[in-house]
Symmetry: C2
Subunit: 226 residues, 2 copies
């Protein structure tokens, strides 16, 4: 997952939802509704989506869906929370697997900007971009993107701060500024990847890795550098 | 415009359209249609927009509009070309006004990430984000964003290359990588600004300015630095 080729990239949000199984091995109703929402969103896109489309994808009692959710924006706000939790859990796992602050930063970059995205992951990112644009005018979506961005920014900032504390990064690196910049770069390159033809991802991935290499020029243990 | 507070920022796209007046001082029909499209887009957003909404905003002959354009995506693809040309002209002007490569880069950054956006500019950026998300699935929109991104990236890359040639930036700076990274950072921070609550713009602007300051540590003329 940290080599830049991981297919398990940003936004593998709902197809694993069956993992949320209850004690009886069956996924709970909310999970099934979120999966149906995601399938309908991928098929129709935000602009053409209706609650009826989501109901068509929901194989259990449709009245249950209408009972719990009033509108497509209700369903999509729920979906964003669900998808955001999964994405943040994926980042937390990458963080646990990384050996050190630079490894953590590299892993987060590679999750966002995997060199190869399989079709499923690519679809997930496209769906998220569609909803992100709606956050301009829908406060519940904005709230979810605020939460997701904030959590990712905190991870990036804290990895940079750990690197400064460990002497891997110079003392004059400001973790807030560096973490925010990396997050904006990742957000921008991901949006560009799916909305324009030129390759924005390769140079940005290489720039961030190069930036980390340049910062971490000296190994604090005095070895030959990593 | 280069002080980070310029209100004349990214996406001041259509309200000045009257400047495209013909010899008789009247704006041409296409310009009037594009202005109507922009007003309708701001009011309804992409998802709720119809050709009828655009026709309502178009004060001249509605049949003319229906004669020239088949669908809202036709109208919006035309609008993106129109808005893109205006935005690129704004960047070209900033470039002409700048004294040197670093000044050019600073000006482009400040146009994207002005510290204060007036309501008109803010609306223009929000409309562009809405259409950008549609470029995921609409090839004509994708084509326009490819053209716009490419042109801005070329400006950034060429400013960095000029800086390397002039000895302002070190020889080992790769203009392609640096220009692409700055463009992704600007794109991401602009999207975050309008779709999440935390301030993504201030740290990114400060990071890019700081990056330029760090790169351009020595004045090639041997003065005290700029």
């Amino acid at each position: 997952m940290t080599d830049g080729t991981g297919g398990d990239a940003n936004g593998g949000v709902a197809d694993d939802a069956v993992a949320d199984a209850g004690d009886d091995g069956e996924p709970d109703v909310e999970t099934l509704i979120m999966e149906a929402t995601y399938r309908a969103l991928r098929t129709h896109g935000y602009a053409d989506l209706s609650v009826a489309h989501i109901a068509e994808e929901f194989e259990k009692s449709k009245s249950l869906l209408y009972y719990h959710y009033d509108s497509k924006d209700d369903l999509l706000a729920g979906f964003l929370e669900f998808a955001g939790d999964r994405f943040l859990a994926m980042l937390a796992e990458a963080e646990r697997d990384a050996d050190d602050p630079v490894g953590t930063l590299r892993a987060l970059v590679d999750i966002y900007l995997a060199a190869e995205l399989d079709e499923e992951m690519s679809e997930a990112q496209r769906a998220i971009i569609d909803l992100r644009a709606q956050a301009v005018s829908e406060p519940r979506f904005r709230e979810e993107f605020t939460r997701i961005d904030r959590s990712i920014r905190e991870r990036l900032v804290s990895a940079v701060a750990d690197g400064v504390d460990a002497g891997v990064f110079p003392l004059d690196v400001d973790p807030e500024t560096a973490g925010s910049s990396v997050l904006s770069m990742l957000t921008g390159a991901m949006v560009q990847r799916h909305t324009a033809a030129d390759d924005a991802v390769t140079p940005v991935r290489s720039a961030v890795h190069g930036y980390l290499d340049d910062l971490a020029v000296e190994d604090p243990e005095g070895d030959d550098g990593a």
